[in-house]
């Protein structure tokens, strides 16, 4: 009885605040970033900001994305790979290639769907008026 109430409460909480499991994963990821040497942490935080804007914002797959990022930078820090060698001359090139592995961000997904259906309507109109 108490368990059921608790799980209902948790379920409600998750509806309001997002999954608790994801929150835990996010906190673990942030702790890993905090443990990185300065330059690597600066780079990850810059990536994080970009990904927040253009990548998937939440959900388990977004968490996987951040964990993959932490894997890369922990390894690079251990190897002392120069920041420039990780990113190359064009950091945008890298972040876009990286982001392409995960679901689209909400904004991009919504606009792509809107765009695709608008073109579909135009093509339809074209067929009927030709």
């Amino acid at each position: 009885m108490a368990d059921e109430q608790k799980s209902r409460y948790l379920h409600y909480l998750e509806l309001v605040t997002g999954s608790l499991e994801e929150k835990k994963r996010w906190r673990r990821y942030k702790a890993r970033v905090k443990g990185l040497p300065g330059a690597y942490r600066t780079a990850v935080e810059a990536l994080e900001r970009y990904l927040m804007h253009f990548g998937p914002a939440d959900g388990a797959e977004a968490m996987t994305m951040y964990e993959d990022l932490a894997d890369l930078f922990e390894q690079s820090a251990a190897d002392r790979t120069p920041i420039r060698d990780i990113f190359g001359d064009d950091p945008v090139e890298f972040v876009e290639a990286f982001m392409a592995n995960y679901p689209l961000g909400q904004y991009r997904a919504r606009e792509r769907a809107r765009f695709t259906s608008a073109i579909e309507r135009a093509a339809q109109e074209n067929r009927t008026t030709r």
């Binding site: 890369l72 190897d79 790979t81 060698d85 990113f87 001359d89 890298f94 290639a97 990286f98 592995n101």
Partner: protein
């Protein structure tokens, strides 16, 4: 030149990475070093990592975590059966492309 190379590599780099892995298992850094040693000096390590993540997601490689003396365990990637099929497909497409471009260059049709 460097940018033309970057542009042309975009569609082929994932195939190149699989081809390297078909010879022997490797981790990300080894793959980048291999590429740089063969004249692909502009390759970013992060980009290679992004391709390895993709290959893993698509089930083309197996990943083994090997302990290392410094830092976290290394992810060592090896090509599996599905990856080899994908690589065959890549080489077929590449041959087609190379052949057509050669014809174009010779002014044929």
């Amino acid at each position: 030149m460097a940018t033309l190379m970057t542009e042309m590599l975009k569609g082929t780099l994932d195939g190149i990475v699989l081809a390297i892995l078909s010879a022997r298992p490797a981790h990300g850094y080894e793959i980048t070093a291999w590429l740089r040693g063969r004249g692909f000096t502009d390759i970013a390590e992060g980009t290679v990592y992004a391709l390895l993540v993709r290959a893993e997601q698509r089930g083309l490689v197996e990943v083994a975590k090997v302990p290392s003396e410094k830092g976290p365990p290394r992810k060592v990637y090896s090509l599996n059966a599905r990856g080899r099929d994908h690589l065959d497909e890549f080489w077929k497409t590449w041959s087609f492309l190379a052949e057509r471009l050669q014809q174009l260059r010779k002014g044929g049709k």
